[in-house]
């Protein structure tokens, strides 16, 4: 049987399924049928079983993980916690509820302490879930550790779960919820994990089922035949060979260069990106400098970070996006008011314009870092919707010494008037995730509308085409820096629509490089036309696939 989903990347994996148990719901606060002494026995028994299990896993893991697990075991048997549980049981609560409440109280206290202690709150939550699961005789939630390589099947992964993943054990990842921009998808792309997300029927998979996770074809094959397994194994070997191939600059079949750049979230990933063949940075997100901060970092602090990044790319292009706060990533000092629809609210350039000093400081730090290094610094503003905003940003950049000031095209309005915007801006870079969200009017964080969050939709492609045409007319660069550029076939379509460079997670570079090299500029245009003419996202992808294989087949049989 085949289960449909959205593949991330081009990988294939074969293995047996281990399911991740869902997080438990909060135990209901109802009166217990047992007396408090009996409930206390139940609670203490489960607490000590969980402590033993954590200690056992600690001994198995060794090293730093052992310390964390042993500390968790001590939390489970903590006398202060047990006193608190017993006190709550005296009020007639069930053991499940009392344990849940006691852990929650300590968690809130740790969160209130902030910083390092706040991070330990997740450890406490994990212990709480384990104890409640044991009381309810349910499997413990969280990432399983069966002790052998496996295909992880989950509803979706929380960021805390993804941090726990042992990548040497996880062969592939299948989720029933979550779209191509979910945390799981982003993690899979970043770490090159073979993944199929949003596969609704994956809910039927059980522990031990043998599956093929085929990301390239957007499906999961259950009960594969020996032939299917052999075919998949062969593809895994081919892909490994391709990754080992020498790194060359991105180009089409006729040699037309299409620079392949990296999306980075901090200066730490720079060396790895260069190793994987990034010819520069197409999107450097600066939020990491500001998150977890109550006030904006100083010009000097920022300048140090930017200098570190730019030094890793001498002579190459580095496109930095100024602070993109709001919506899913609010900042205390920038986004003070609660908004009903944060994605449509005071975010990106709108928020910066509102707090201009933050933008001025950031541009000042960037200009200073540029002057101190040999990289080619470009700076762009997020969430541009009007020519007026474009002019505001480029004027400020010119005043503060930034040479190349451009815009991100994420709103349909910016795409539709890209000609007028590019008269003012030096370049455009299309953020396909947000452009898709705003074009389809579908919240990218909402699983229930994830099916609409597909950059293959002809409406999105048409807007990309508008920007590409406006750039070509003016000889101004149009980059792509959304997840779409990491899809090897969609990358060809985007180039056909006028994109002059592609930026992606470094792990996607090898596949995209191999894909671009197969087609000439005319091929890319023909494939793009086929996709544009389709009626929906799935049809566009299919049409592009057909057009592409027609071209490669014709070439293979040509004399």
């Amino acid at each position: 049987m085949e289960i449909k989903g959205t593949g991330i990347g081009l990988g294939v994996a074969v293995g047996s399924v281990v399911r991740m148990a869902d997080r438990l719901p909060e135990p209901v606060d109802r009166a217990s049928h047992l007396d408090p002494e009996r409930e206390a026995e139940r609670a203490k028994a489960s607490l000590s079983v969980v402590a033993e299990e954590l200690n056992r896993r600690g001994r198995q893991a060794g090293g730093a993980a052992q310390d964390v697990l042993e500390a968790q075991a001590m939390m489970a048997e903590d006398p202060t916690l047990i006193d608190d549980v017993v006190k709550r049981l005296a009020d007639g609560k069930t053991a499940e509820r009392a344990v849940f409440e006691a852990f929650a109280a300590f968690r809130d206290m740790l969160l209130g302490m902030g910083g390092y202690m706040g991070e330990r709150a997740a450890d406490l939550d994990d212990v709480s879930q384990r104890v409640v699961a044991h009381l309810l005789k349910l499997p413990a939630p969280g990432v399983p550790n069966p002790g052998h390589p496996f295909v992880l099947v989950a509803r979706d992964l929380a960021p805390a779960d993804t941090a726990m993943l042992d990548l040497t054990q996880v062969l592939g990842l299948v989720t029933s919820d979550g779209g191509p921009t979910s945390h799981t998808a982003i993690l899979a792309r970043e770490k090159s994990i073979v993944a199929v997300v949003g596969a609704a029927d994956a809910a039927s998979l059980a522990d031990g089922d043998m599956v093929i996770v085929d990301a390239a074809n957007d499906l999961v094959v259950t009960d594969p035949t020996p032939e299917q397994v052999a075919d998949a194994t062969e593809r895994i070997a081919e892909r490994a060979a391709r990754e080992a191939a020498p790194v060359t600059p991105g180009a089409l079949a006729d040699g037309t260069p299409v620079p392949l750049l990296a999306n980075l979230g901090s200066a730490d990933g720079a060396a790895e990106a260069v190793k994987l063949g990034a010819e520069g940075v197409g999107l450097f997100r600066t939020e990491f400098l500001f998150l977890d901060a109550n006030t904006a970092p100083s010009v000097r602090e920022q300048q140090e970070q930017y200098t570190r990044l730019l030094s890793a790319f001498p002579g190459s292009k580095v496109v930095v996006r100024v602070l993109d706060a709001g919506a899913d990533k609010p900042l205390a000092f920038l986004n003070a008011n609660e908004e009903e629809n944060p994605a449509l609210g005071l975010r990106g350039i709108r928020a910066l314009r509102h707090s201009e000093v933050i933008l001025r400081e950031q541009l000042t730090a960037l200009a200073a870092a540029d002057a101190a290094t040999d990289a080619d610094l470009w700076v762009m503003a997020p969430m541009i919707a009007t020519v007026d905003e474009t002019r505001y940003f480029t004027t400020l950049c010119a005043e503060l010494g930034i040479r190349y000031a451009g815009v991100m095209v994420e709103t349909p309005s910016a795409a539709l008037i890209a000609d007028r915007i590019l008269d003012v801006a030096a370049f455009a870079s299309i953020g396909t995730n947000d452009l898709t969200q705003y074009t389809m009017a579908a919240d990218r964080l909402l699983g229930t509308v994830a099916n609409l969050q597909d950059p293959w939709h002809p409406a999105v492609l048409r807007l990309v085409g508008e920007v590409g045409a406006a750039g070509a007319e003016r000889g101004k660069p149009v980059g792509i820096c959304g997840e779409a550029a990491a899809d090897p076939l969609l990358a060809v379509v985007l180039v056909g629509l006028g994109a002059t460079s592609l930026s992606m997670s470094p792990s996607a570079l090898a596949d995209v490089r191999a894909s671009l090299a197969r087609y000439t500029p005319d091929d890319a245009k023909a494939i793009a036309r086929a996709a544009l003419a389709a009626e929906g996202a799935a049809e566009a992808k299919l049409a592009a696939k057909d057009a592409a294989s027609e071209i490669t087949t014709a070439r293979a049989t040509a004399p």
Binding site: D67, F106, L110
Partner: protein, 88 residues
């Protein structure tokens, strides 16, 4: 009952690993042990949650009170643990 005041030696204070080592030792000592920051309420030193909730930092002065068992030896051992830097 014996008591002593000691300065915390761990660079990151009494968090995580140092707190774990300390509470493990206190729990295994066979004595009843409390720990308090200057001016704070004493908490059970065998409770990791109690200890980390004190937010004890590097250089803070804390008072240990040991009651029952081999009081003097237990106190010496715990003082030694608190003044050592476990975060190197």
């Amino acid at each position: 009952m014996v008591e002593r005041t000691v300065r915390i030696g761990s660079t990151h204070g009494l968090h995580a690993r140092p707190a774990k080592l300390f509470t493990q030792a206190a729990a295994a000592s066979g004595s009843s042990v409390t720990i308090s920051k200057a001016g704070g309420t004493p908490v059970n030193a065998a409770s990791i949650l109690g200890v980390i909730s004190q937010g004890i930092d590097f250089g803070d002065e804390v008072t240990l009170v040991v009651d029952g068992g081999d009081e003097q030896r237990v106190l010496d051992e715990l003082v030694e643990l608190l003044s050592t830097d476990h975060d190197e």
